[in-house]
Amino acid sequence: MEIRIFQVVVPVLTLGFIINLILKYRKNNATAYELGLGILFWVCLTLFAIFPDFISRRIARLFGIKSNINAILFFCIGILFFFQFKLFSIIKKQQKEITFLTRKIALKEKEEE
């Protein structure tokens, strides 16, 4: 099997990112969920970098898509939508908390007047 440059670079980067994630977790700067999700993401990316043709063909077959390139594109768009949705939900939650605090402060100030 011919080894291409990204098949070496991606696993090395992954190792760096996973070590960084573990250090963050140990310093309480990341939750167990974030650590697990991060490791899963980087491991998947590494596997895909090492076996690109095999994995893309499997995904194409799984979703019934003829070309493996199209399968990867659809798969990536799906992942991006998922993260976009997650991000939007987090922002909404934080906005709600800011509104709650703003209201509490306003009513408390009024009460103290």
Partner: protein, 227 residues
């Protein structure tokens, strides 16, 4: 009647109109006027206080819906019997408050929605009518009953409504959310005809197309995902 009604006006950077709006309301004999200053950076709060209104001040701008929910919570704290919601840009005539109050008694309603489309409505600009038509259509399909004006901010609530309504949406979509929320909590809703003054100022302050799309999006998001 006058003593029982608390008039709440959510306001954001309304220094140009807030004084006149308060003067006009006071000229009809209403004394309990509360401005919810939604993080204005101008003299809105200062002018409102100088006119004798009470001011509740958000330290950050959170939107008309957030300010309305603050009004509801404050009304609960002071055990208000009736709460009127009016816009701060001078669109709404205080003369309709009495008519809304009478309609509330006549219909035994908990929530009265001012409707610009029950009577003559030739003074409503075409674009505003078009936005409202779309908005009404999109909201009415989610309601048990049909409403002629789901977007009008001129409303009267009785104690039952004050205690049961809980608004989660921060922006203008609160108008629609209030109706859905009231229906779900078994509150009785009725409409009362109102005429609205459209000026260049109030039209500039109102919802444009982009804000309208955001409003509809957040309303549907809340309906589907519940937050």
């Amino acid at each position: 009647m006058l003593q029982d009604i608390h008039i709440f006006i959510p306001a954001y950077n309304e220094e140009k109109t807030i004084g006149k709006v308060i003067d006009e309301i006071q000229s009809y004999g209403f004394k309990n006027i509360i401005i919810v200053d939604d993080g204005s950076s101008d003299r809105t709060a200062e002018i409102a206080r100088s006119k004798g209104a009470k001011v509740i001040r958000h330290i950050l701008n959170r939107g008309a819906g957030a300010a309305t929910q603050t009004a509801l919570e404050y009304a609960r704290n002071i055990s208000s019997k009736h709460l009127v919601l009016m816009d701060a840009d001078g669109q709404h005539h205080p003369e309709y408050i009495e008519k809304m109050w009478l309609d509330m008694r006549k219909n035994d309603a908990d929530l009265i929605i001012g409707s610009r489309f029950l009577d003559r409505h030739e003074n409503i600009p075409f674009l505003r009518r078009a936005y409202n038509w779309i908005g009404n259509g999109l909201i009415n399909i989610t309601c048990k009953y049909h409403y002629t004006d789901t977007q009008c901010g001129f409303r009267l609530l009785n104690r039952n409504a004050i205690h049961h309504l809980d608004l989660q949406i921060d922006n203008f979509a609160f108008c629609s959310e209030m109706i859905i929320n009231a229906e779900r909590k078994g509150l009785k809703i009725a409409e009362s005809p109102v005429t609205v003054r459209y000026t260049d100022y109030s039209l500039g302050k109102g919802q444009g197309l982009a804000e309208g799309i955001r409003t509809i999006f957040s309303f549907w998001w809340k309906l589907i995902y519940g937050n």
